[in-house]
């Protein structure tokens, strides 16, 4: 089949099953957008800033389990993707980023809108390509999708010079893709399985640590069956929330810097940690020398480089979490850890999650109201900061794979554009965005895209006039000198109105249920501006340099403030 390069690109995407892309055109990308007219099965969403295209593709990939695609022009179009690509890299999200490039003949001459985007993105992509010959184009695109979604997923960037897009391309779509030396191990060796089964049988206080890898491997059911079989509590990382319904008797919620006390105490006092698809991030472990001092570590990850990277593993298991869990569950008898679970319950009773905030609208109450209106089963996209931690603590996550946020990179401004993609994976269903007034102002231009696409996205702004998490650190560690953290903003209700989005403001706890009901009933997008207490801190908190058992609780809990 004879096509031009641009048509070959869309043909590849169509054959990979892509039906939606987020993008922004420009000079070098003109041939690409021109050829799109011949592919009506692919819906292009025009965003308002390229960063949003990358986050939308990322949100779509997390929510759908498929590869997300963004398409932009050369130069500034390409560099605007960088934060979005790095976000996807840190959280192992399969994204294919297509960037147009100046013509091959002028590459390296500092031509108009030329930038070495493969050089720039080298450390933040799983792999990237500059296509220099038409004969490589189809193979490269096929490989890009293959690499993005297999093994430990990640972003792959393909740079497409304009003359390649215009020039002829003999289209031959290879059935199979291979890369020499690229063979992700999905099945653990029998020896390791036997050792793992032995170690689990020997443990008295086992704790399962569920990370993002459980979502990536779609191992939700296998996680539940495994945890039930060995009767062990399940602690989540931030991105591991929603791997197991919080209704389950074994689900403890999130541990780490702002983890709930009982989850941290369980992990700290365990004699065996079974880490599943998580990478022992510093926000999760606290001070490493004090992390779970009496625990052996059974570490399951598809990426061998994550095993032993921060915490040495007694039993290393390289493999796909789903396949490993299946094998483990079938090789283990029913275990009983009721005393250990009773101990964990006692901790839960002693250190409950309570709102001690004063004033008309404590921020935690906003999350509680969101939880009530969605019955803990909504699709939630959170930005980064204090509100993100309150969502992690106070939302119930009764639904599997329903929570999306930037974990590893901690990208403020992620939530609104990411919700475009999450929404595309859940058409027609309301998607709830929880965002601070700082993060919202980083990418609020996407309100126009939400309206353009008529998406039923509900944006809940936790509006406290501060960059709250940074302000909290200034209060605790920098003598309460609030430098650079007070932030002003427009009247968000009027702003929404100018985009044609219905909006409300809530200033007191009593108004929340009404406001959230209005948001839920809205026929399309809705914005809810919650004027929350300005000086509220997130507790519990494990302070930097301390261990996870030394969490600091809200001082008002004991009437100290």
């Amino acid at each position: 089949m004879q096509l031009n390069g641009a048509e070959a690109v869309w043909e590849c995407l169509a054959r990979e099953g892509v039906d939606i892309v987020w993008g922004y055109p420009g000079g070098a990308a003109l041939p690409l957008f021109d050829a799109l007219a011949k592919y009506p099965q692919i819906h292009h969403v025009l965003v308002r800033h390229e960063q949003a295209a990358a986050h939308a593709a990322d949100g779509y990939a997390r929510a759908s389990g498929r590869v997300g695609v963004c398409v932009v022009t050369s130069g500034p179009g390409a560099t605007n993707l960088v934060t979005g690509i790095a976000t996807a890299m840190l959280d192992s999200v399969p994204v294919v980023a297509l960037t147009a490039q100046v013509a091959d003949s002028v590459i390296g001459t500092d031509a108009f809108q030329e930038v070495n985007i493969t050089g720039i993105t080298l450390p933040i992509t799983k792999h990237n390509y500059l296509v220099r010959q038409s004969k490589d184009l189809v193979r490269v695109l096929r490989e890009a999708f293959f690499l993005a979604r297999t093994g430990r997923p990640g972003p792959v960037l393909v740079d497409l010079p304009k003359d390649i897009l215009i020039g002829p391309c003999e289209f031959h779509f290879p059935d199979r893709v291979t890369r020499p030396g690229y063979r992700p191990v999905v099945r653990s060796a029998p020896y390791h399985l036997q050792r793992a089964a032995q170690v689990i049988s020997d443990a008295c206080r086992p704790v399962v640590l569920a990370g993002h890898g459980v979502h990536v491997a779609s191992a939700w059911e296998e996680l539940r069956l495994f945890a039930e079989r060995i009767d062990a509590p399940v602690v989540s990382t931030l991105l591991g929330l929603g791997t197991m319904s919080s209704d389950h008797r074994l689900a403890l919620g999130m541990a780490g810097m702002h983890g709930v006390a009982w989850a941290n105490l369980a992990a700290q006092n365990a004699d065996l940690l079974i880490a599943l698809g998580m990478r022992m991030d510093d926000r999760f472990t606290g001070s490493l020398p004090r992390f779970a001092p009496n625990a052996r570590l059974l570490h399951v990850d598809i990426d061998p480089a994550e095993i032993g990277k921060r915490v040495p593993a007694s039993v290393p298991m390289v493999g796909d979490v789903r396949i490993v869990l299946e094998a483990l569950t079938s090789s283990l008898p029913e275990l009983d850890h009721r005393e250990w679970l009773a101990q964990v319950d006692a901790w839960r009773g002693r250190h409950p999650l309570e709102v001690h905030a004063q004033g008309p609208l404590p921020p935690q109450e906003v999350i509680r109201a969101l939880d009530r209106v969605t019955d803990g089963s909504g699709i939630v996209v959170s930005d980064v900061g204090q509100h993100q931690m309150w969502v992690a603590q106070y939302y119930r996550f009764r639904r599997i794979n329903s929570f999306f946020t930037s974990g590893g990179l901690g990208t403020m401004g992620y939530s609104v554009p990411a919700s475009l993609g999450v929404q595309a994976a859940h058409p027609g269903e309301p998607v709830w965005v929880v965002v601070g007034d700082g993060g919202f102002q980083m990418n609020l231009q996407e309100l126009a895209t939400i309206v353009q696409e008529r998406l039923p996205i509900r944006i809940v702004i936790m509006d406290n006039g501060y960059l709250g998490m940074v302000r909290q650190w200034q209060e605790l560690f920098h003598g309460a000198r609030y430098i650079g953290t007070p932030i002003s903003g427009p009247d968000f209700v009027q702003l929404a109105a100018s985009y044609g989005i219905p909006a409300r403001r809530a200033c007191a706890t009593a108004e929340l249920d009404d406001a959230f009901a209005a948001a839920r009933e809205a026929d399309g997008p809705f914005l809810l501006d919650c004027k929350v207490e300005r000086d509220e801190n997130v507790y519990p908190m494990v302070q930097p340099g301390t261990g996870n058992a030394d969490f600091v609780e809200d001082p008002r809990r004991r009437g100290e403030k």
């Binding site: 291979t178 890369r179 020499p180 480089a305």
Partner: protein
């Protein structure tokens, strides 16, 4: 500790940059880096001598294996059966009195004289890095004007192969495309 990594990587643009980035990002000091054709078409054999703590180097080897295009990465540091060879070119200042002495030293170290001028000699020597080090030391008093070293390449003695698992037919087909 000093580590030696030997790798087979695909001969692709930017492969060098990918490897360089890997070491630079984690702040390792690369002592030498050599790259050249291997016995396999489309595959480059690279040898990297790097200084760093063992656990950190283990992590770098793992990250190296993750690079798309890295087909085989082996840390050969602890293999006693390694041959290590490096080439040295050194330009030594001489006069009529010292010339003969430098020539005899070259002879002693089995180095070749590859260029002669009235004030300089260029010597070429090949051997283990330590031996070359000693050679440079004895030449130093005469005045070393210029020195170039290739960095060491390593190979196991006997029948042992770096690429024990032969390249699969599909991979071979890919490489020949």
């Amino acid at each position: 500790m000093r580590h030696v990594l030997v790798a087979l990587v695909q001969d692709e643009p930017a492969m060098l940059a990918r490897m360089g980035n890997l070491f630079a990002r984690r702040g390792y000091n690369v002592e030498s880096f050599t790259a050249g054709a291997s016995e396999l078409a489309g595959m480059t054999r690279v040898t990297i001598v790097v200084e760093g703590p063992d656990t950190a180097l283990d992590q770098v080897a793992k990250q190296f294996r993750k690079l798309i295009g890295a087909v085989k990465v082996v840390d050969v540091t602890s293999d006693p059966e390694q041959l290590a060879y490096e080439m040295l070119l050194v330009k030594v200042g001489v006069n009529s009195k010292t010339r003969q002495e430098v020539v005899s030293l070259a002879d002693l170290f089995k180095a070749r004289i590859v260029d002669v001028s009235s004030t300089t000699l260029i010597l070429e020597a090949t051997g283990e890095p330590d031996k070359l080090e000693k050679f440079v030391e004895v030449l130093r008093p005469f005045g070393i004007k210029e020195q170039a070293r290739t960095g060491a390449v390593f190979m196991s003695r006997g029948a042992k192969l770096l690429n024990r698992r032969p390249i699969s037919p599909t991979d071979r087909k890919y490489l020949s495309d």
